[in-house]
Each structure stands twice: as structure tokens, then as C-alpha cells.
Amino acid sequence: MSLDGRTRTVGQPDPADAAAARAELKFEALVESAPDAMVIVDAEGRIDLVNAQTERLFGYRREELLGRRVEALLPDRLRDQHAQHRDYFAAHPRVRNMGAALDLMGRRKDGSEFAVEISLSPIEAQAGLVAAEIRDVTDRRAAEMALLEAAIVASSNDAMIAKTLDGVITHWNHGAARLYGYSSEEVIGKNIAILLPPGQVDEILAALALIEGVDVSEPVDTVRVRKDGSLVDVSLRVSAIRDDNGVIVGASTVSRDITERKKVEAALAERTADLARSNAELEQFAYVASHDLQEPLRHISAFVQKLADRYTDLVDEQGRRYIGYVVDGATRMQALIEALLELSRVGRDDLRVHEVDLDEVVRAACRAVSAQGEAVKALITTDALPRISGDEDLLYRLFVNLLANALKFGRAGIPPRVEIVHERRTDGCHKIHVRDNGIGIDPAYRERAFDIFERLNGNDYPGTGIGLSVARRIVEAHAGRITLGESAGGGLDVIIVLPAVQSQQELV
């Protein structure tokens, strides 16, 4: 009751007051008799009045609620948001139904939550007061959800089948009808065995015994029989159906036709095998060709050399020049063939994987190029390098190739500086840089630099153009990657990433 400045005579009720009191009593009775929980809230959001349904629904006694903020009846996570909604409603009061589309939740005194639907009405008689009618819609939401699920099941393209533990089919959706050719009328009540190929036991029921405690199995690829007797490849996922006591009483399976997938897989496997075969043949060809080419070439070299040594007096100046060309050509071809042989051998012979101390490998590689390095006054520095698993001989050849390149492609007049830098990436991979201060490789040509016999610098630098091809094959045989970048001074930065641990299987 509010003080409104009107005088009151004690003992003699003001007729207006009496009318107001009657109206209020009538209002409270109305609230009390409402079938749903009713909460009257004032403009500040404080609870002014609740009915017995509210007490029952939320588990509070009404004295506990009166004067408290209405947000007490909401889950914590919704409180702030609700206060804003309430302010908005206060500014735009009108009758509203809430909860039909929104997933509104109420919170009981014991902290448990339940689905609610709320309708709000401003109370005309008392400005600022709002009546909220709250209904527990737990059952209805569940029913809606069940209907929705049923609709999803019915319309699913996947075959969904439920059966008892004895294998009696209890549910059969459209997807199942489409996949297996039986209508639901034909199969409900029949045993699931009608779908099994002759002689095959039902792995589903067997699997069910194993999924105790786990309610959904991993997908299983298997074969089923259609109504017309044809076989179909399917992928199955099994879920246990439990009764109210948690006892497994049946199983539902979702199955999918994987005929297409199987076809694609088979085609892919065949194609992969073809590729591997033709790759192997190509390598074999390169090996045999270069091996057999060596023989006659060696004879050409040997006898032309003998001609040059012993019969030089019998030919004139021009003849001697010709002989020189033959010797040069044969020598160069010899180098190319040896390079080709080396390349075809990497990956052709099996990798011999052991734990390898890269520090030692690099030290040995440095010794191998020391003569070349001293000739150009090179300086090679290196980080401490890890022990990795790999083929020691191949890794040695990798570093010899890279160091020899770094020393060869220096800038005129500048002694080569090569640094080997190691970092451990967060994924455990080893990243190794071999950086130099040489002439580098234009970004446009970096990928081509790995091509066999590619010599980006023509005849300015000696070589066969095979070094980086060999390097790449070695790194890839170790399941790693090799790329080219630019070092700070414009030189080349060869970046090698090798996996942390290498199992024999990963290595090709």
C-alpha cells in the first residue's frame, strides 16, 4: 500500500481505500488461482507477489522470494541478459509470449534447471508492475525433440534400423527401405538375419557385447544382402538401446551405402600401384641405361686417350683438337652418367635406418669438401646438431652436396661463408638451414633448381646439375622436405625439415 498524500481518518475507512483493498484482494486471489506459476514484478525487477504454483515449481517458500530480484529464478548465465531484457520491456510494455522459440530455462532453489515458457503482461492498474506467467514445458520440449528426431530419422538417407537383442527388427526407416529394398511393413518383426550374407554371423550383436559402457561403436565396414539378393558394401555404426534401468535391450544401427566409396578406393589403389610400378620401372630404366651406357663410353674414353698419348705425332693440329673434343665429351658424359646412376640409386636401394649423429655427419661432409673449401678460403660454421634416425650414408651425401654447392656458387672475390643452423620446431620436427653468402638463386628458378640436370648457371660453373636433385631425393626418402630461400646477404638458404621420429614404415 502506498502513501499518496491523501488524508485518512482512523477508524473510519475511506471508501476509496476500501475499494482499492478489495481490488487488491481480488487480484491476489486471481493470481493465486492461476493454473501456472505467476510472478508479479515491479519496475525495479523485484518480486512483488507469487502464487502457490510458483512455490511448487521453483521450490521456494514465498517469503523467500518476495522483494528479491526476479533473476533469482533464472540460471546464473542468463541473469545479466535478463536484466537488460527487463529494462527493454519496461520501456516498451505490451503482452508478450516468450519461450516458444527461445530455449528459456528456469532455476529451482536447489539449482536444477527446467524448460519454461513465459508470457508477460503489464498490469494496467498499477504502473510498472508486470505479471509473468511461467509454465514448466519440460515434457513438451522433450516431446518436440522426440518428434524432431523422429522426423530426422524418417527422412534420413542413411538406413536406420532398431532391433531387439534377439535380432528382431523393431524400426525401419525410409533410408533402410531405399538401401535394402524392403519396406518397413515387410521387415518389422522379422529377424535381422535376412540382411546377412550366407554364413556370416551378425557382427552387430557380437559387437554389442563389446560396447558395454560405450554406447556408440566405431564405424564398421561390412557387406549386407538386399531384397533382390545383391550384395552391398555398407559402413555401420551401432548404438546400444537401453531400458530405464540402463540394461541393453537392443541395438540401433545406422548404415550407409559405401559402394561408391569402395569403387573410388579401389580405383585409387590401382592407380597408386600403377604409378609406383611405372616409377619403379623408370628408375630401373635409368639405372640399367646408365649402367650399360658406361661400358662403351669407358672404351671410347680409354682408346681416345691412348690415341692422344701415342699417336699424337700422326695427326695434325686440327686432328689433335678433334681428339681433345672427344676426350672432353666422353669425360663430361661419364660424369653425367655417374650422376644419373647416383640419383637413381637413392631410393632404389632400401634405406638403412639407424640413429645418426648429424654433428658427425656434417663433420665428415666438411672433411670431404675441405680441399675445395681451402682453395676459396671458405669458412663453415655449424650449430650443435641433433641425433636423428636416418640413413647415415645418404645424409652424408646430402650435406656433401649442399656444402659443395655453397662453396662452388660463391661471389667473385668474396670468400664463401656457410652456416648450418638447427632449430627444433614446436611439432618436434628438425629444421636445418644451410645458408651461404653466394650468388643465390632467383625466386623464379628455385623450384627448377631441383630438376635433374638443371644447370641454372650454364657453363659458368662446373657440374652436372644433379646435386640438388640428389639432395631432394635423399630428404624425401627421409619423409622430409627441402626448400630454397634467401639468406640475409642474398645468398642461398637451403631449408630442410626432417620429421622428429621416423619409423621404418614411414620411410619410402
Binding site: Q294, E295, H299, A302, F303
Partner: protein, 149 residues
């Protein structure tokens, strides 16, 4: 320019090789190194086994050195090597395997069959001459073969 041969009597060498140019190169390599050899050539594995068989039976002198090309028609070099090293009469003869391949596997195979030395062609290399001189020294100063003493 030839130096005086180290020994008066030539070394009896069986060369098992099918390639004519390689036969010529081998002969000349011995010439160049001033090593006197009595060179018997078998042009395939079967011919080599014939010669070795009659040597084992005492029908002809046992070679003091065998140069064996691995890449032979029909019966391949490793089989010939295996045959030599499994016969008591022949297994003491040093065998130098000649190969045009630098494959480490071929080398390993050859040593697994008890080759005494493995040399990559061409044969006019220092390596070849060193090897032959070593073997020559072995035969002349350490071992005396009964059949030729």
C-alpha cells in the same frame, strides 16, 4: 718407356672377360706396368669353368691370378667366383673382381663370395697396378706353387 720387368718369368693370369676392348686394355695395362704375364683369356663363364676344371685335374697349370669380370653372358661372374672358392684345388688363387659398376652392393656381394680384391674399371689406374704388384709380390716371395716351382 718401359722399365725392366721385376721378374724373369711371366705371371700366369686367367682373364675372364667377354669384352674385346677390355681384353686389350687389360693386356696393355700389364704392359704399361711392366708386369710380364702369360695371359689366358676365357670369354665367358662356361669357358672359364672348363679351363679351371682341367687345371684342377692337373691337365694344365693352375693360374696364379684370376681377373674376373662380373658381367658375363650366361654363367655370371659371381657364380664363377663361388665355384673357384669352393674347390680346394682352386680356392687359394687370388681373384681380382673387375666391375664397371660403382655400386657398393656389387662390391659387398663380391667380397661375400671371397673375392680377394675388387677393382672398378678402367684398369689402367694406379689402383689396379698396385693391386697386381701386391699379388705378384705375394706369389713370388711368399708362396711357392708346387706345380711351378
Amino acid at each position: 718407356m718401359k722399365t725392366t720387368p721385376l721378374i724373369a718369368r711371366p705371371l700366369l693370369v686367367l682373364l675372364i672377360e667377354d669384352s674385346e676392348p677390355d681384353i686389350v686394355l687389360t693386356e696393355e695395362a700389364f704392359d704399361d706396368a711392366s708386369i710380364a704375364v702369360d695371359l689366358v683369356v676365357a670369354r665367358d663363364g662356361a669357358a672359364a669353368l672348363d679351363i679351371l676344371g682341367s687345371a684342377a685335374r692337373g691337365e694344365r697349370p693352375i693360374p696364379e691370378l684370376i681377373l674376373l669380370d662380373l658381367n658375363l653372358p650366361r654363367i655370371d661372374g659371381l657364380e664363377v667366383l663361388d665355384n673357384i672358392k669352393s674347390r680346394n684345388e682352386l680356392k687359394a688363387i687370388p681373384v681380382i673382381v673387375l666391375s664397371s659398376s660403382r655400386s657398393p652392393l656389387e662390391k659387398a656381394d663380391a667380397y661375400a663370395c671371397h673375392a680377394n680384391s675388387f677393382i672398378t674399371k678402367p684398369l689402367d689406374s694406379e689402383e689396379f697396378l698396385e693391386t697386381v704388384r701386391g699379388i705378384e709380390h705375394y706369389w713370388l716371395t711368399i708362396v711357392r706353387l708346387p706345380s711351378r716351382s
